[in-house]
Assembly symmetry: C2
Amino acid sequence: MTTINDIAKLAGVSRTTVSRFLNSNGYVGQEARERIEQVIQETGYMPSQSAKSLRTKKTGVIGIILPKISTETSSRVVSGINDVMKKKGMQILLTDTELDPDKEIEYLRLLKSRQADGIILLATNISERLQKEIDAIPIPVVALGQDVPGIPSLTYADYDASSDMMQLLIGKGHERIGFIGVSNTDPAVGGIRQKAYKEMMQKHGFEVREGWIAEGDFSIESGYEAMKQIITSDRTEVPTAIFCVTDRMATGAMEYLKEQGFRIPEDIAVAGIGDAVMSRYITPSLTTVDYFNEEAGEATAEMLLATMEGKNYNKKNMHKYRLIKRDSV
Amino acid sequence: MTTINDIAKLAGVSRTTVSRFLNSNGYVGQEARERIEQVIQETGYMPSQSAKSLRTKKTGVIGIILPKISTETSSRVVSGINDVMKKKGMQILLTDTELDPDKEIEYLRLLKSRQADGIILLATNISERLQKEIDAIPIPVVALGQDVPGIPSLTYADYDASSDMMQLLIGKGHERIGFIGVSNTDPAVGGIRQKAYKEMMQKHGFEVREGWIAEGDFSIESGYEAMKQIITSDRTEVPTAIFCVTDRMATGAMEYLKEQGFRIPEDIAVAGIGDAVMSRYITPSLTTVDYFNEEAGEATAEMLLATMEGKNYNKKNMHKYRLIKRDSV
DNA sequence: AGATGATGTGTAATCGATTACACACCGTTT
DNA sequence: AAACGGTGTGTAATCGATTACACATCATCT
């Protein structure tokens, strides 16, 4: 590999001058400039980022810690982050915890060691150890999707969105409303959304029947199983509506209901959250909440950028959302 | 940030010993080992990757050049790559060309400058300039999805899969078969799949009518528009089957057909390629080809690893596939 | 007893960039 | 004519690790 020294030698100048040329700071004469330009052209020289980073402490890389790479939400968020970051000439380093809380910590360390300029954390749960780790890290960290104490976070409006959805269901006359959630170790998806469900039920004086509540693990199949569990728990009295905390689980739930000959929404209405692409094209199309994931990714990126510049310390934001009424309700 | 020198000083040894401890090479005595261990524990020291990379020329990062981050295919492939790479302690740096061929070159350069240990290219088209750039790069590059001359490539079995699908259609008695493709600047998706379509039609002596061929841009909407174009080109004689080169476009096509009151598959059969998750849950479920994207990602990662070790030079592989017969045909 | 080899540690060069500082030149101002 | 400031370039230290080489110690073998 050609180095800055080679370029300097070939162009007959010192490496300082070459460096000045590369970074366009300081003076570089016309002649020197031309010779350097030419030599770089000929050699295809590219400065070593490692050397640069070692000196400047800037890597131009921001790390993203995802629960899972290949989900629609993740890829939409990453796409949004990337849109903002590429404009700043920053690259994205991906890591994937596979929903393992230990890995969140492990990757936080790793990104520290790689001296990422910033970190975006899509946490799933917030342990004390994670907190400590974040506090100990000399790199700006921001969170998306969960309110992580101590750092700037952009959360989805889980409570409001869920309440709105419940209100929609209730407005259509539903009283026997079932719920398919996820483990409440996930505060946002598991905790808050269920809280909204229960509080809305109670507020309207509807019975929250245990048999109508089931838990999945984000997968379509688990939605299917959860739905089966709810239906078979008491065949004599099934709910007239099901509120699922994700579109994927709602899709699975619908699959089961269709198999069993239930008409959607006439017999049972189904609602989800997340506006997966799929939701629009399944039959009936799914009523859901759009969380604007790309934009949330962009906003989080901006938040990180601001934090990196020292602004914006510990700001908390809630992202916008939009109820999408389709045919499943 | 604490450095190796700090650790050495605190532990009362030289930095050489600390380095030996860290990399577990060379001898380190019991006492020294314990002291170093403790100091590292206390300080939370992490070695600087930049410094390490500068010396060793290894970054532990592999770059992926994607046409688009937020597509299902991309995220599945990346997930597969990541599964393999994480076992080797390698991280993934993502770049996204937005289908712009110039960016493929730009990112190749960038990854060179970042001294990625290897590069996986999901090319969309193969220009001469790209070729030259690849040749000039002192980093192993492998390709997925396109046969890129001069480097190891894993391609999908586009010709065979398309032929099989055509055979399925023809076996069901279809003779008037339409085609929704993409621009043939993309050799694999645009070129080969169309070639298979045309050759199968000709082989069976069926007329390839121009009005029954339309081009989309991978999006669902473009599939919708392409279908519309085909149907409206000659209302008196519409095809009885449509072969779409991607599931997304097939989804759009089905959407249009359903709107227009066509029954699928009775009036018009629809087939796709790619086995998007969605395809199973739309109505009717879509007949398609599973390309095993995760596994293809894994295989490509293994190919890169082998290439990085000097084996495997310029090997060409074709990935397996599986026809999935569902209700749309 | 001297040679040998395993064990344990340190010295110092090196990787490829950035940058503070010094210096030289030259036209303009006072 | 001396002082000054803008231009243009070079010297050398520095970032934080790795590693070739040298050296010291000690147990074992011949």
